[in-house]
């Protein structure tokens, strides 16, 4: 068959101007790369989970065994749970911003308070 550059084609840009959402496109670029790295860490973690489960079951660990592994109901739930918790951890700062938005009364500035106490 025709020789193709799989990696270049996989990375192909969709036709149409790419929208950037952060004020500085450099931030968008770093952010996008960070998310891709986070993805690969999650992939590695799921692979490790598979290796652990194979070992625990006393089964041989090989590339083929890993690719053939299908988590049972409970294992699949635990693995999805891990993804959910992991995303919560890496998005912590955003969740804190959201919490601040929800509870504006809980955002007193310590600096202001320090100045106020010092003046009293």
């Amino acid at each position: 068959m025709t020789d193709i550059d799989v990696n270049a084609l996989a990375n192909a840009k969709a036709k149409g101007e790419r929208p950037y959402f952060f004020d500085d496109p450099a931030v968008e670029r770093v952010f996008s790369i960070t998310l891709a790295v986070a993805t690969e860490l999650a992939v590695m973690r799921e692979r490790l989970d598979t290796v652990e489960r194979l070992l625990e079951a006393g089964q041989p660990v090989s590339k083929t065994a890993i690719d053939a592994f299908r988590p049972d109901n409970e294992a699949a739930r635990e693995r999805q749970m891990w993804h959910a918790e992991y995303i919560n951890r890496i998005f912590r700062i955003v969740h804190q911003e959201l919490e601040a938005l929800k509870n504006p009364e809980l955002n007193v500035s310590s600096k202001d308070l320090a100045d106020k106490i010092a003046a009293s």
Partner: protein
Amino acid sequence: MSSVLPPTYDRVGRHGLSPDVTHDETARFNFLTNLNVHIGQKIFPGTKLAFESRVAPAFDKAHGRALRDQCEVRDAMKCDPLYQFWAATRRSTMEMRQQSGRHVVLRQLGKMSAKAAALNAGKNTLVLDPRVTPPDYLAQVDNHWMPGSYYSEATPGDVLSGAAYEAGLFVTTAGSMSARGDGAGRALVRYLAEKFPDFKPRRILDLGAGVGVNTLPIVQAFPDAEVVAVDAAAPTLRYAHARSQAMGYGNVQFIQASADDLPFPANSFDWIQTTMFWHETSVATVRAGLKKIHEMLRPGGLTLHIEQPNFAADTPLWDRFTRDWDAWFNNEPFWRKLHMMNVFDEMAAAGFGRDRLFDGATEADIEPGMYQDWASTLSRHKPELKRADDAANDGARKGEFWYLFGAWK
């Protein structure tokens, strides 16, 4: 327990033309699915709060008046940090999903295309027409950021577009289209069985059928009918036909044609269906297509459409913004105009009697036994549709929620 857990990717329905998916590719799809769920469930609601609590008030203060339309909302939201985060994450997640889906298919494209070619060889149920070129609106931007759209090839005669589309569908929709991506087709046949149990179409047309995921439940439900699936994109049809053959559906014909120029005579179908089709076309195609549908239907025939609901007079400004979002930022340019069109007026103009029109809502029918029992499938459009009176509100079958309109000829 606050986390919504989607089903895992290994539960996707497989068939004879499915790509091999390695452990790590599956894990990547799992992460991206969870990321989609997270930004949809946890971050997106926050953007509405940001709008109400700081963006809209700041606009009022600066301009001495309230925001007037969704374009003003869009421009005002542009500077909000939470919104920026949500939108940038959504964009990146979509790009990663396209990348991953394409990579899975590209690395085995030769094998998959050969398999498809063998399944398609000598079958008169696949009719490609090289004179059909991609409609202008498809050729300018790739819908939902899908590189190459439905009609491009990496190698002559390949199945890249259709296969990559199917591989990523589960991820973007977090499984809410059911395990074989056919939740809409399943919902349709259930809707017909419930609403019009005596309707027994003999000849059926599915227009803009894509990879045919939603065509096959129709074929299955009406085994004696002649089913024709039409699409403008040859590579997608090549995949669709081979897929249906691999799944054992012989009695469906896939024909390459454009909705603007359909090769069927008047009075030749009992049922003409479109599923999530019009929103990726144009005003001219909607108008010409509906007129032609009216002509092609036999008297007493039915046409049904699953589509974005148009805006009602009381659709809130925020919902207008979020629903037009895809037109501005997800390469779905026609959504904005479609939201403003009145489908009943369009159907009437195409020749359907006003008293023969109806609409409603339907929910993706999730195939039992495919997903884990703890898995949830989300219903993204539900809030927009709560006014629709005959919603299929069976709590057990939670999936994507759709607007549906139709007419009898």
